[in-house]
């Protein structure tokens, strides 16, 4: 069965199903396109959901499809074979189960596994790769989509084994089989591999014809388009058409995210350097190191070793001795993972020889801006003197500049015990790397730190704790620091901020009070007011207001400030993360009482006494609104909950007099009352049969919210309403109130009437 025919059928079937199935159809439609177009982040976003849905819907073939395309993205395109190898083996196992054996995609699981080994150590696993590809090809014919891919894997193994003639012969053989099967147009992989083989055989002109014969590489997806482009660069270089090769050579930024392009890029850039078209610089050395590390992280050990060797050769060419030695060490480390390390021996010997020549030349003792020169200078200086601290820091800085932050860290770790400034530098390095565990370890023994560095180290540790969200520990640390160094105002301010974030208002206020005299008015005073308002420390509020030049209300210094300072809106962040805005009356600089009743379905804040952050969330609207502007502030604490609940009532609007009577009754009980619909709203009279009268009379309607204390029995409100509205033409309906009062039948009747009436 043709895989794409199956995909289309499955897609159509799923789209006729429930929403989950439709979503799955959408995802399997997108996955392959995202993979071949290098939208790998989208693949990462889609795969977990697609897989979960396929399992839920019991679609094993679709599971296989999703897992295969996940591996295509990770393995084939991103060239990653770490955890992917386990997944590839697992997928092979899954694909050969009774449920999935017949799935056309099951053949492709073999390719995923073979490519994992190709990535890890292409030349090392040549026999196995050839055997797997050959075995799979016997099971399929050219009508299968993967015929070209599996054939390409066979060719790739031969090329890794440095056998381009055999590769060409195989390509020809496969082309013949395909043609006899009616597939006259060679596949993309086949054509590109032919070009690669011809290039290796110094038949670059013919290779160029092949690649130029692929008229529209973009048609095959972005990934293949780039592969085509880089192949062309290699061919042009071989032909000596350097300017064209340089113009076509992509920047690193264009390919860094797709590991499958990196090897070609490294080879091409090395070729361009060798012909002098690209400068051999320390920055390029950094770029190659980034690529090398990416290969290593992907378990691409052969490419790691090759890239390190290329980097070493180029480093030696630009006279960077320390860097060359470091890279040779890394070649050796990577070779340990390879089955045929001897393939790199000759190249390694050449670099070693270059390095030996370099090392016979004298080194400049003048400091340099070039970090590679600096490292060479400092290495030479080290041989003259024992390591002074400034040398250590300079070496660490140079190592970081050449992209060796890991070595910088190791150096600092090894020497931090001896030097305070080295310890501080190490702490900063660990913080920058977000290595909080190591940072904690560094502070286990801080008794030896001199005062000069002790404070700075504490600053760094505090930042680490905050980054991790460990606010309590951050607060404790800053408290202890201030106990020893009370004048450390940045730490005091940080303590205040952390305490605020942690809801420890007392600590925050104490810190701010102590900091205030040392900073200009306005720096901390609003924060003081906020914290003091939460704590009810009104003397502190007044003191801060004085510093801000605000008018202070009369009364005792400690008396609460409960003014009426105008309407504002307060924004609450509810426990589920949703935000709700409510009208309030401002009662103090950072305090307000909520006057709006929320709908019963929303968290209720009516009569909450709150403290807010005095920063207008709608400041950007002030200019347009001008005098009408009403600020909105974010609530940071509820000092006195209103402790109310609300009921929604809907029904006939009895007119202003009756309405006002109801309002007074409710006010006498100190219940909240708010009309939420405007006058003029009408609905058909529910007493008139709509079937009998096509144009029933319209009656004015109203919806109101009533808020009662939580401690109040809803039955009391219900009874009050019954009595007050007894004379009304039609009732106010409140099924939720009926239910809360235990009147279930009434609640059901009210619900039914509301559905019919819709007032």
């Amino acid at each position: 069965m043709n895989i794409w025919a199956w995909v289309r059928e499955t897609n159509a079937r799923l789209r006729r199903g429930e929403p989950n199935a439709q979503r799955l159809a959408q995802l399997i439609d997108e996955l392959p396109t995202a993979a071949v177009n290098e939208a790998h982040e989208r693949v990462d976003s889609m795969v977990p959901e697609a897989l979960a849905l396929a399992r839920e819907l019991d679609e094993p073939w679709v599971q296989l499809f999703v897992r295969h395309w996940n591996l295509q993205s990770r393995v084939l395109h991103r060239r990653s074979a770490g955890d992917e190898l386990r997944e590839a083996v697992s997928l092979l196992d899954f694909a050969s189960g009774t449920q999935t054996q017949a799935c056309p995609q099951s053949v492709c699981a073999v390719q995923d596994l073979a490519v994992c080994y190709a990535i890890r150590d292409g030349p090392g696993y040549v026999p196995e790769r050839l055997a797997v590809a050959q075995e799979t090809l016997t099971r399929i014919d050219p009508s299968w989509g993967c015929f070209d891919c599996i054939s390409a894997e066979y060719v790739s193994a031969l090329l890794d084994d440095d056998k381009p003639e055999q590769a060409l012969a195989f390509i020809d053989r496969q082309a013949k089989i395909a043609a006899e099967h009616g597939e006259l147009e060679p596949g993309f992989n086949s054509r590109l591999n032919r070009a690669r083989a011809l290039t290796l055989l110094d038949q670059a002109a013919q290779a160029l014809e092949i690649v130029d014969g692929i008229r529209d590489p973009a048609h095959y997806g972005r990934s293949r388009q780039m592969a085509h482009r880089q192949c062309r660069v290699a061919i042009l270089l071989k032909l000596g058409r350097v300017d064209e090769a340089l113009a076509l050579h992509p920047p690193l930024s264009a390919i860094i995210d797709t590991g499958g392009h990196l090897r070609d890029w490294v080879d091409n850039v090395a070729g361009l350097i060798d012909v002098g078209a690209v400068a051999n610089t320390a920055q390029l050395g950094r770029d190659l190191l980034v690529i090398q590390r990416q290969f290593f992280a992907s378990s691409a050990y052969w490419d790691t070793a090759r890239t390190a060797l290329t980097g070493a050769r180029l480093a030696a060419a630009r006279g960077a001795r320390v860097v060359t030695r470091l890279l040779l060490d890394e070649v050796d480390a990577a070779r340990g993972q390879l089955r045929r390390p001897e393939l790199l021996a000759a190249g390694r010997r050449e670099v070693e020889a270059s390095l030996a020549t370099l090392e016979r030349d004298p080194i400049s003792i003048e400091p340099s801006d070039d970090p590679e020169r600096e490292l060479d200078r400092l290495a030479h200086a080290d041989t003259q003197d024992p390591d002074p601290a400034d040398h250590l820091l300079a070496r660490a800085a140079a190592l970081r500049e050449i992209g060796r932050a890991d070595l910088a860290r190791t150096l600092l770790e090894a020497t931090s015990a001896a030097h305070g400034e080295v310890r501080l530098e190490l702490a900063r390095t660990l913080l920058a790397a977000h290595d909080h565990a190591a940072l904690d370890q560094l502070f286990v023994d801080e008794a030896h730190d001199d005062d000069l560095h002790w404070l700075s180290l504490r600053w760094v540790l505090g930042q680490s704790l905050r980054e991790r969200g460990l606010l309590e520990r951050a607060i404790d640390l800053d408290r202890a620091t201030l106990a020893r160094v009370p004048e450390a105002y940045p730490i005091r301010l940080r303590l205040a901020e952390a305490a605020r974030a942690h809801g420890d208002w007392a600590t925050a206020l104490d810190a701010l009070e102590l900091a205030a005299p040392s900073v200009p008015p306005g720096t901390v005073d609003w924060d003081r007011i906020t914290a003091a308002t939460v704590l009810g420390r009104w003397a502190s509020v007044r003191a801060a207001m004085a510093r801000l030049g605000l008018e202070i209300p009369g009364g005792e210094p400690d008396a609460p400030i409960t003014a009426r300072l105008g309407a504002i809106r307060c924004e609450f962040i509810e426990p589920d993360g949703e935000r709700q805005r409510c009208w309030a009356v401002r009662t103090s600089p950072c305090g307000a009482r909520v006057i709006e009743i929320s709908l019963p379905t929303d968290p209720q804040h009516f009569r909450d006494q709150v403290v807010f952050e005095p920063s207008d969330l709608d400041a950007h609207l002030r200019e347009q609104a001008q005098d009408d502007h009403c600020p909105c502030f974010e609530v940071v604490a509820i000092t006195e909950p209103g402790d109310t609940r609300a009921f929604l009532l809907r029904g006939h609007d009895p007119g202003p007099a009756a309405f006002e009577q109801l309002r007074e009754q409710l006010r006498d009980r100190d219940y909240g009352f708010e009309r939420i619909t405007s006058a003029g709203r009408t609905a058909a009279d529910p007493r008139v049969d709509a079937n009998a009268d096509p144009e029933p009379p319209q009656l004015p309607t109203v919806a109101v919210l009533i808020a009662i204390p939580n401690a109040t029995d809803p039955a009391e409100l219900r009874e009050l309403l019954r009595v007050t509205t007894a004379g009304w033409e039609l009732p106010l309906l409140a099924p939720a109130l009926d239910e809360a009062a235990g009147a279930m039948e009434a609640s059901e009747r009210a619900t039914a009437m509301l559905q019919r009436w819709r007032p």
Binding site: E41, S45, S90, D93, S96, A131, V132, R468, G577
Partner: protein, 634 residues
């Protein structure tokens, strides 16, 4: 022998066949005829402006007459002489506009204001009309008027017409299949979109009699009276400008209202592309694709579906743009994919990302609405663009076992780590994260895992992936035997060994929550090893592939495929350990063990359970214990 001579011939054209091919296949929809003829009218006005100078009032009137089944486009442009009718109107592929465009390089001719290029526009008339009539009077011969009539475009009549003002009137007598074009409301809606960027006023009255009765058409009635936002250089208050931009965007969306707009291209520089982006006000999912991009070139709408100009993650975004450098295809219904196209796409991406950032800082209420509507899509977007990641990662919500929370809140509630589950239903992970009182990120949802992982990496926050070996190591801290009383470790292992020698390793650990006494955890790698190395695998999997697979599984240490982690932080397990360490106290633990052992199996719902104890055996033991308790009760 006869002599052969070579003669030269001219390839002939079957006009009928060519007309059919061009007509049938060049244009995808009959609405294109409206566009083409309005464009011709516009170019005619431009021509008159260029060639005869100022002093005339350019206008174009489009009349759809449902009773007469006609569509008429009338302009006050340059008109045509009889010679021009023959050379340009009646010759396919020869358009005067191209000739005129070649003069555009001359400064006195003016800027790129002409639309047509290929000389094929008038052909569209014959696609929709069974008869086409053209009345025209050229500014060059204002005393002469001409009437051109054609049915099929292959033959035509040409005669002098009644005197008329300078300009042209084209009347299409519509074919039955295309009489929708005689609907004035439909045509007006079309023009509001298609022609909004054209310079000269275009009128499309809904009532034909307005024109017939001689009533003037006010400038404000023109469908293109309001300039597009990026060409509007009036002094306007920001709120008004925003409102107008929303109204403009609203013209282009039939399914979604625009929630807010983002300008493309600064008026002060010379950007490649100018226009407007808008965010749709409709809830989307991660992979929804409602991208809609309207592209105008030289003032005329080329395509309404250039979605590839927007990144794939922007499934909730629409745009209307005009780009001087963009090149239409021959049908003028699509764009050529060239360097200008790529640059335009890059510009749109930058404008969108920067615009979202500005909305976040300057319009927080709108930004919150965008987050609410498009949370999932934005998660995916954040992964694709570092700038968006910085903007969105903290604010968007992630699905967790405790509801949708932002990552800062997840971290706050999780004591410095973030737990992620890709669990299948019924696995041990589900049990564990139900028991944990921390929010667990639901990695099976779109974008959740990718964004959580990146956010955690950036902050050095440990990520605990439930269901993986590393996750297991992070969750369960192994307890060494020497940490317990003598004999306790061995006693616990013996007491909790699997039934019938099942392959279960009993592991002493400490983990949260303390009220969970044990968890049965599969070792998926060992399971895989067992399956791949079993004899059965040789029958299922081909030899060479199996060989490669076994290369991997040989690196996995052999062992039981399931581990039972006993929680030493749970009091009952700790107490059991103390008793089981000494034989004289061990019997006291029998009752508790009788309850706990079956619970191990019943709390797990997958295959692991069966390795430990079957459901039947578990239930039997619990019932037996319950019977004993009943029997021993006074």
């Amino acid at each position: 022998m006869a002599e052969h001579s070579t003669t030269l011939h001219k390839t002939r054209v079957d006009l009928e066949g060519l007309m059919k091919v061009l007509g049938d296949h060049l244009y995808s929809t009959p609405m294109v005829a409206v566009r083409e003829l309005v464009q011709n009218a516009h170019d005619s006005c431009e021509r008159r402006r260029i060639e005869s100078g100022a002093g005339f009032e350019p206008r174009i009137i489009v009349l759809a007459d449902p009773s007469a089944h006609t569509l008429t486009i009338e302009d006050t442009g340059a008109g045509l002489t009889d010679d021009e009718i023959r050379r340009y109107l009646a010759t396919v592929g020869a358009g005067y506009t191209r000739t005129l465009r070649q003069r555009e390089a001359e400064p006195e001719v003016g800027s790129n204001s002409l639309i047509g290029y290929f000389g094929l526009g008038f052909l569209s008339a014959f696609v929709v009309a069974e008869r086409t009539e053209v009345w025209t009077c050229s500014y060059q011969q204002p005393e002469l008027a001409w009437r051109f009539v054609s049915r099929d475009g292959q033959t035509y009549t040409l005669e002098t017409g009644s005197p008329r003002p300078v300009g042209t009137r084209v009347t299409l007598h519509l074919r039955e299949a295309h009489r929708a074009l005689a609907n004035p409301l439909a045509v007006r809606r079309l023009l509001i979109r298609y022609a909004c960027l054209l310079r000269h006023p275009i009128f499309c009255p809904l009532d034909v009699s307005m024109v017939a009765s001689g009533l003037g058409l006010a400038e404000g009635d023109a469908v293109n009276a309001e300039p597009p936002p990026w060409r509007d250089d009036r002094e306007l208050a920001p709120l008004r400008r925003r409102k107008l931009a929303l109204e403009f965007a609203g013209r282009f969306e039939s399914d979604f209202e625009p929630l807010c707009t983002i300008p493309i291209g600064d008026a002060s520089d010379q950007p490649e592309v100018r226009g407007l982006l808008w965010i749709q006000d409709a809830t989307t999912y991660g992979s929804s694709d409602n991208r809609r991009v309207w592209v105008f070139v030289r003032g005329m709408m080329i395509t309404d579906d250039a979605r590839e100009l927007l990144p794939r993650w922007a499934g909730f975004v629409g745009a209307a743009i005009e780009g001087l450098g963009l090149t239409p295809t021959a049908s003028r219904e699509d764009l050529q994919r060239d360097g200008a196209y790529d640059r335009a796409a890059a510009q749109l991406l930058d404008a969108l990302v920067e615009g979202l950032g500005q909305i976040a800082s300057e319009q927080p209420a709108t930004w919150r609405r965008i987050l609410y509507r498009h949370n999932e899509a934005l998660l995916g977007a954040a992964i694709c663009d570092a700038r968006l990641f910085a903007l969105i990662a903290e604010q968007a919500t992630i699905p967790t076992s405790q509801g949708d929370l932002n990552l800062t809140r997840v971290l706050e509630r999780s004591q410095g780590k973030i737990y992620v589950s890709q669990a299948q239903r019924g696995g041990f992970e589900e049990l564990l994260f139900r028991a944990l009182s921390v929010p667990v990120v639901q990695a099976r949802r779109y974008g959740a895992l990718a964004i959580t992982r990146r956010w955690a990496e950036q902050r050095g926050v440990p990520l605990v992936m439930l269901g993986t070996e590393r996750g297991e190591q992070a969750l369960f801290r192994r307890v060494e035997d020497h940490e317990l009383e003598s004999g306790a470790a061995e006693g616990l292992r013996r007491a909790f060994a699997a039934e019938d020698g099942g392959e279960v390793e009993v592991v002493l650990s400490r983990f949260a929550p303390a009220h969970l006494p044990f968890v049965l955890v599969p070792d998926r790698e060992v399971e895989l090893k067992q399956r791949i190395e079993a004899d059965d695998a040789d029958r299922r999997i081909s030899t060479a592939a199996l060989g490669l697979a076994r290369l991997f599984t040989q690196t996995i240490a052999a062992g039981p495929p399931v581990r039972l982690h006993l929680n030493l932080d749970c009091r009952v397990i700790a107490q059991l350990g103390e008793r089981l360490g000494t034989p004289e106290r061990a019997t006291a633990a029998a009752g508790a063990l009788g309850l706990l052992r079956p619970l191990v199996a019943l709390l797990s719902q997958t295959d692991e359970q069966q390795r430990y104890m079957s459901s039947e055996a578990a239930l039997t033991q619990i019932c037996e214990l319950a019977e004993r308790l009943v029997a021993s009760a006074p």
